[in-house]
Symmetry: C2
Subunit: 633 residues, 2 copies
């Protein structure tokens, strides 16, 4: 097999290949993706599903002057391979210093925006089109969206702002009838209806009519007219949904058929109106197992390239999300009024067991975080139901106003299970859950807490409704201990002293308590004894416990896996100043304010100056320790 992929150093090289060669190229691309992802894991199924459409788009349009704007952009692996990134960086995709798993403008001029959170492509594309038209440029703008994109309110706001006069604006809808899990809601029905009722009446005429108006392609159409008609024989008679928003609809087209897509995309250059091209694709295309189980192969773990079986994971320890999921099944069985909401993260947040057992009380609303939160408020309003809203820390950024107006202001006791609160490893800058304390603590009446282990997570979940106010329980996607102890009734706002000492007070948040205890051991070897406390609650703070510790300590370390802007450190600093604890010295250990790309947990901790050895050094250089105990206040 000749290596066509090697010959592509930039997109225009595609035009040197014949259709047959492009088809072979697609196979090579698919194999390259499979090889790398079998080792690294990653967004496998969606990348396998978008190989041909990406080749066809790069063949017909001229990136980067024609701007491809990928929604979420986890499906850009083919795009990366065709735009000069088929080198050793691709072997390390989603790894430290390797390529990002998303579009990344610092990697290539072909990537216009960082992405990661769904639903932004149409708005960004409309913005670029606005600037283009003001500057009287003649390029194309191509937002490339998935069907799940259309469950996001943001996409619908953008649809509502598309003007019929917009030129050279081609929306590519890659419809695999899936979001991460199965799709939710009316938009899905609209799309599947379109696919199931293909007729050829109207749009072919429409395209013919248009073709005559287009300077360069009139000739193409009159020559190729019949062929084109053949290639777009799946056009439907009407697509009222998109037309209502001023978009001319073309489709559905087989998104794996280069022969159909290439002439169509060529014909869509220089159109004087905005169009949407509806491609239907198969998530996991070309890999039998992934086609059969696209959910499992969405964010795939490493797998055996021959058998396609996932490799056994190294550890069998429970993680915070798994314990959350188990606890939900247990609590739902005990309490028929318990309802759990997830915005399309049923798999990641380990809610599939609950959905299987209690489908009426574990509700997936699609990629619609704002609605998830406001809907939770509606359910909880009358206090007849107990509502838990499960949401990733980074996605809660999309629902701040909903949390403010529809939960806190109403004083509705919804419990937020904030998953992925911490470093996101392979997903990088858009996914780190390290800002949420900063914005959550501004919300009046919201309790904010974090468990240091799985057992405490269970206790907090069990206790939260008793506090009778909105509660945020944040936890990372990490392994944790789950000691088999009885569930204590946790009181609101009570922290715990984990170890007592004389020379230093370490206040550590959540799983960082374990690191604090390890650091304490190492300090003890140097004759320094530290008190370690787990505040558990960031709001309300356990001021009694803190006050007690501050009678003894003038040296304070705060330790958290959260941005230094707005996290535990700033909460403690504010507390100290407000309460007049002067004569103290503080070292805030947390994540310095800047953006961080992907990497392993230990690589990123190191980059953040937060690995255990470095923290120990920082403590020893920040404070002066005396052999004798410090003077008591």
């Amino acid at each position: 097999m000749t290596d066509f992929l090697e010959r592509i150093s930039e997109p225009k090289d595609l035009r040197l290949l014949s259709l047959e060669e492009l088809t072979q190229l697609a196979g090579e691309v698919r194999l390259r993706i499979l090889e790398v992802l079998s080792v690294n894991g990653g967004h496998l199924a969606s990348n396998l599903g978008s190989v041909e459409l990406t080749i066809a788009l790069h063949y017909a349009f001229s990136s980067p002057s024609d701007a491809f704007i990928f929604d979420v952009s986890h499906q850009t692996y083919t795009h990366k391979l065709l735009t000069g990134r088929n080198d050793e960086r691709f072997d390390r995709i989603r790894q430290y210093k390797g390529l990002s798993g998303f579009a990344h403008p610092k990697e290539s001029p072909h990537d216009h925006f960082f992405a990661g959170h769904a639903g932004t492509a149409l708005s960004l594309a409309l913005g670029m089109a606005q600037a283009r038209d003001l500057m009287q440029e003649e390029t194309h703008i191509l937002p490339i969206i998935g069907d799940a994109t259309l469950t996001c309110g943001l996409s619908l706001e953008a649809l509502n702002n598309i003007r019929k006069e917009l030129k050279r604006f081609v929306v590519v809808l890659n419809d695999n009838a899936m979001s991460i899990s199965h799709n939710v809601g009316g938009v899905t029905n609209i799309l599947s209806r379109l696919i199931s009722n293909p007729t050829t009446s109207r749009w072919m005429h429409e395209l013919d009519r248009l073709a005559l108006k287009i300077p360069h392609y009139g000739a193409f159409f009159s020559k190729q007219g019949h062929k084109l008609k053949e290639s777009i024989k799946n056009l439907v008679s009407s697509a009222p949904f998109f037309e209502q928003f001023g978009l001319s609809y073309i489709g559905p087209i087989d998104g794996h058929d280069l022969k159909k897509m290439i002439p169509l995309f060529l014909a869509l250059r220089d159109l004087p109106m905005p169009v949407i091209v509806h491609l239907y694709t198969k998530k996991g295309y070309g890999m039998e197992q992934a086609e059969k189980d696209p959910i499992a192969y969405h964010g795939a773990k490493p797998f055996d390239l021959l058998t396609c079986e996932f490799l056994p994971s190294k550890s069998k320890k429970a993680t915070f999300p798994k314990i959350f999921g188990q606890q939900m099944v247990k609590m739902a069985a005990e309490d028929p009024s318990l309802v759990v909401i997830t915005p399309a993260m049923s798999l990641g947040s380990c809610l599939d067991p609950m959905r299987a057992k209690f489908p009426d009380r574990c509700l997936d609303v699609g990629i619609a975080e704002g609605h998830a939160v406001t809907f939770a408020g509606g359910i909880g309003k009358k206090r007849t139901c107990k509502v838990i809203c499960s949401i990733y820390a980074t996605f809660l950024q999309r629902a701040l106003d909903n949390l403010f107006q529809d939960i806190c202001l109403q004083e509705i006791p919804v419990v937020f299970a904030i998953d992925r609160a911490g470093i996101a490893t392979g997903d990088g800058a858009t996914h780190h859950g390290i800002y949420d304390i900063g914005f959550l603590k501004t919300m009046p009446g919201l309790v904010i807490c974090q468990p240091r282990d799985g057992h405490l997570l269970k206790e907090l979940l069990a206790a939260a409704f008793a506090w009778n106010q909105p509660v945020a329980i944040r936890y990372p996607n990490m392994e944790t201990l789950e000691p088999d102890l009885p569930i204590q009734k946790r009181p609101l706002g009570k922290g715990e002293e984990l170890a007592s000492g004389d020379d230093l007070l370490i206040i550590a948040l959540g799983h960082m308590c374990e690191q604090a205890l390890q650091i304490r051991e190492e300090l003890l070897e140097k004759g320094i004894s530290a008190t370690v406390i787990d505040p558990i609650f960031l709001k309300p703070l356990d001021t009694e416990l803190l006050g007690k510790c501050l009678l003894k300590h003038q040296r304070i370390v705060t330790l958290e896996e959260h941005s230094l802007q707005g996290g535990l450190g700033s909460v403690i600093n504010h507390f100290l100043m407000v309460h007049g604890f002067t004569n103290v010295q503080v070292l805030n250990v947390g994540i310095p304010e800047r953006f961080y790309d992907q990497g392993s947990y230990s690589q990123l901790l190191k980059e953040m100056d937060m690995d255990k050895e470095r923290i120990l050094q920082r403590i020893l250089s920040h404070f002066t320790f005396h052999p004798q105990p410090v003077e008591k206040k």
Copy 2:
């Protein structure tokens, strides 16, 4: 004229009145609203437009067990008058300790949710329906939305989650073809098309068919069938937009015609599917001037009841928003690459002059804050355009993730003009702009600043693009000085010392600098001399200026019109701790963390313990001042 309104102490009293009497009642309600609003000002036009539909709904349904969920809820004046609040509290609507201008659950069990921000009603209603169905209750849920509601992504997310099986769920669409200003986008076209093509074909048959299935109303229909057909003769043949989302569509119906609406609403009880009733109304109905200029009478100032002319406002001083609006016209004239985005707040943010002069570069995207911000990122991406996104502080809560991912992460130098940053007076809890610093400061790379007067606002706007990074400039809707001085080039991160003293350092934010200077004068009379500094920038802080002042001062007051959680005070406290400025005493004056209802500026300041006299007392009791200068560090 008999006073029917006096006889209505709860909604069911309506059923004692004849149709003719209900029509008279509508007139009385309208007069009551006009009388009170001519004095207080308020959401006049939308309340005049919804008198009849509210009467008809309360006649046909049984609030509060049937839940009316008003979107935004600024149009609830009739609802308030019919639900036991037609007393002296109504005379003081939107005033301190009077009725809220929005729905307010603490006023009445007929108000289920606080509201104020648009687009939440459908999600809240779906939540209530979910809880109702789980508890097997038989009540009705009625979200009452406006046409502008449908420009919000949140509403569209909710539409996408409506199940066809949902029972007793009646969406009332009050369509006045307006949002606050004119509507924007595709949804508007859909609605106006529905109104302009009324036919009677399909829905009458549909209703007939349904009627036979409904236990109580089958009889009604067979008796009243012909009448009903008459009364709903405006039904259209199809309404594909809503049907795609599983909502059965009924309408459009004249929303001022009680005779049509009452039998229709009665017929819609106990329906086994979700329906949307499309009412067309006239904003400002019954008041000639308001019908002619519904934008001016949307948030109306006090007016003369006889002439309906607005009363002259007491002051002619410029306000921050007015100066912003003037500056935009000026900057747009000088720079053809300047683009301004507003999410439906063109009037409030004083952008109408720019829209009139530069319609292509002052873009209203509708009530779609998320899209506004992401769209701004798209426009600014290539650095060919300078983009200013004008947005109210409280509405920016709806676009935090857009600010994070689509602006800050991309390092696009969009300038945010954050209007209404401060106490919202008449609008109350949902509208106070007092949380934004808390969530903005968590955003990496975002500059945050606030001008103390109109001149500085102009300077910051003029300088912001030179800093080449995202910038937030926040300012309140207050009168301000606008000295006619040359525009200095403001450097990034530089504060100013406004007055020098020896005994106390006051750090004051924005317009609070004026108060700080007044307090300084009063302290001087007591022999205490204060330094007053305006940091101008909250991020980056002017650490040089602060460091210099801290060499001299150990007593520090921070003064801000922002929540104490996350505002200037916490920024300064964090700074002091991080930089080891121990031996200082701090008094943070700001807004204590809880929710505040409406009131005048001075009433609310007092309630917040922040009026000038109280601050002075607090300073004098917090610190011990010595006659001699304090010891220098």
